[in-house]
């Protein structure tokens, strides 16, 4: 099973060499970090520091997930940096999610109103330690926004928890639908 995935992965990912330790990641996050499982986030094209930061958060127990916590627990800082650099270089696939027309209009307004663009960038592609939102998996976006709102998801400095308090449940749905269908170009 793993071998078959590796073979498939070799066709689908960028030409640069796949680090051995990235291969287990493909099982859940998709080849080259383009996830095909709606609850699992894509990793391709995120800023390297954002990926390294989350691996760090999982390893340190600040962020808890039954799959990611054990996966991160064995990684050294250097390995986290290597994985982060690799996935940041991978080309994000165009989103297959189709945003509802009313949300394509309402979404950008919310992203401005609630200052998403302030940290995630004008096209929501992320920067520094802040992840890409554009074209991210829809279910994953919904889950994270809801967790931040419920104050059950860790963040380094309290920013996302605080930002999410201002969102209504409807805002969360509109934003997730808008972001998941947003072009990553």
């Amino acid at each position: 099973m793993a071998a078959a995935l590796c073979f498939f992965a070799a066709d689908a990912v960028s030409a640069d060499e796949v680090p051995r330790k990235a291969e287990p990641c493909f099982v859940c996050h998709g080849p080259g970090g383009n996830s095909t499982i709606p609850t699992n986030p894509s990793l391709a094209g995120h800023p390297a520091q954002a990926i390294a930061m989350q691996l760090y958060q999982f390893r340190e127990g600040n962020r808890k997930d039954p799959q990611m916590s054990p996966m991160a627990s064995t990684l050294s800082n250097a390995e986290m940096n290597e994985l982060a650099a690799y996935f940041s270089r991978q080309k994000p696939a165009a989103p297959s999610h189709k945003t509802a027309p009313e949300n394509a209009t309402a979404g950008p307004k919310l992203a401005q109103q609630f200052n998403c663009v302030q940290c995630h960038g004008p096209r929501l592609l992320g920067q520094q330690h802040i992840p890409r939102l554009a074209g991210q998996q829809h279910e994953y976006l919904l889950a994270q926004l809801r967790k931040f709102k419920a104050q059950t998801r860790a963040d380094l400095d309290g920013n996302m928890t605080s930002a999410a308090q201002a969102l209504t449940n409807r805002d969360v749905e509109v934003l997730a639908d808008y972001l998941a269908g947003l072009s990553v170009q």
Binding site: A52, M53, Y56, N115, Q127, A163, A166
Partner: protein, 410 residues
């Protein structure tokens, strides 16, 4: 809501004040802003300025433009140790061990010099924002957000440190949202000095907040040393006068160039340095400065620049640097985020002429690449430390690296 109203009226509980102040400041969102956004005005609401996060997994010095680092003629700067993630405050053991703290992370490291290389040991783990480290008479003291602990005989047990013994607890009774990390230093009087910052950007602090205090490690008795200090994360004693000098961060979201961050001196125990009423000795706060006069408060000795985030400081007491550097103050400026044109990200040297007039000049620069870029820098100094041979170490939490600055052939 009734509690909130009473709190608003009395301004007694900083955490709830933060919530209420936020509600007043942000027209649309009723929830509390993150601490760094507290006090932002309506016309600044669309600002894209934001604090930076360190590379928590550290970065390798081979990936960094070290050749951009500059020191004055005759000096040399090099990487001394790396792989010290989020390297913050520094302390020196009698046997030459360098202790390194964390602020957002949870460890204290011990760096041992093996001659050509440095060995980095994770000494303590799982602590609660252990930003303050101090060494005295064989004992390592660590200040977490809520308590100060001691580790006796530490240099003999770096691979198997003892359990910490609590010197004082209860330093963060409200789990305050901001400025809860502490700098720690052992004074010439044998007492441990530490800061408790204001819980938010611009709020009325509780009686024990926005202060520098000291505790007698033998008795556990605390005294207030300085008040009206928004947050100090670096202090040291003048070797000649024995007076306590400290750096201080000014408030954010007032303007690009005001107020300046400060270098202050405590001449009398209990002096009030102005926060939240008066900033930089001459600027009344628009909200808290009503019906106050800056004359009531102690002004800074030196204005260090707006938003430059001065952190660790030391008086140079080594013998390696030229004589004119003796007793000068070296300050690590972490660098600005609350300013469009970024500044800081360096180590500055403050000297005084015969008449006591201060002069500030750059000492270690080159971390700032592009003042308008986001991020503008590739490294951020946090603390400085004078070694036994007179060389100076500089910690960089952004990369998890410690640099060494030497003079002459060494």
């Amino acid at each position: 809501m009734l509690t909130s109203f009473r709190t608003f009226a009395s301004r007694a509980v900083p955490a709830l004040v933060c919530l209420l102040t936020a509600a007043a400041a942000l027209a649309q969102a009723p929830a509390a802003p993150p601490p760094w956004k507290q006090g932002i005005s309506a016309d600044q609401a669309n600002s894209t300025l934001h604090p930076f996060a360190p590379h928590m997994t550290g970065r390798s010095s081979k990936d960094l433009p070290l050749d951009k680092l500059k020191v004055p003629a005759g000096f040399k700067v090099e990487v001394w140790a790396e792989g010290v993630p989020e390297a913050r405050s520094l302390a020196l053991g009698d046997k030459g061990t360098v202790f390194v703290s964390n602020r957002l992370a949870k460890n204290v490291y011990a760096v041992v010099d093996k001659g050509g290389t440095r060995e980095v040991k994770t000494l303590l783990k799982g602590l609660n924002s252990p930003n303050g480290v101090a060494f005295s008479k064989g004992t390592l003291y660590v200040a977490e957000r809520n308590r100060i602990s001691r580790y006796d005989g530490i240099e003999a047990s770096l691979d198997n440190p003892p359990e910490g013994k609590v010197v004082i607890d209860g330093l963060d009774p409200q789990n305050q949202p901001g400025h809860f990390w502490k700098f720690l230093a052992m004074g010439p009087d044998g007492k441990l000095y530490y800061n408790v910052g204001a819980p938010g950007n611009i709020v009325m602090p509780g009686y024990f907040q926005a202060t520098i205090s000291r505790v007698d490690p033998k008795s556990g008795v605390v005294e207030t040393v300085a008040q009206g200090v928004r947050n100090s994360v670096g202090f040291d004693w003048n070797p000649q006068s024995k007076q306590l000098w400290f750096t201080e961060h000014g408030r954010d979201w007032l303007s690009e160039d005001s107020p300046s961050d400060e270098l202050n001196v405590v001449k009398t125990k209990g002096q009030h340095f102005g926060y939240p009423f008066c900033h930089q000795g001459d600027t009344l706060d628009p909200e808290f400065g009503k019906n106050r006069d800056c004359k009531e408060f102690t002004p800074p000795v030196v204005k260090l620049g707006a938003h430059v985030a001065p952190l660790g400081m030391r008086f140079y007491n080594g013998k390696m640097f030229p004589a004119e550097y003796r007793n000068n103050i070296f300050i690590a400026r972490h660098g600005s985020w609350n300013r469009t044109a970024k500044q800081g990200y360096d180590v500055v040297r403050v000297s005084f002429d015969a008449g006591g007039k201060p002069k500030m000049q750059p000492f270690l620069t080159g971390f700032l690449q592009d003042e308008k870029a986001d991020p503008p820098m590739w490294g951020r100094p946090v603390d400085v430390l004078v070694m036994k041979d007179g060389a100076m170490l500089v910690s960089d939490d952004y990369n998890g690296i410690i640099y060494r600055i030497s003079y002459g052939k060494k």
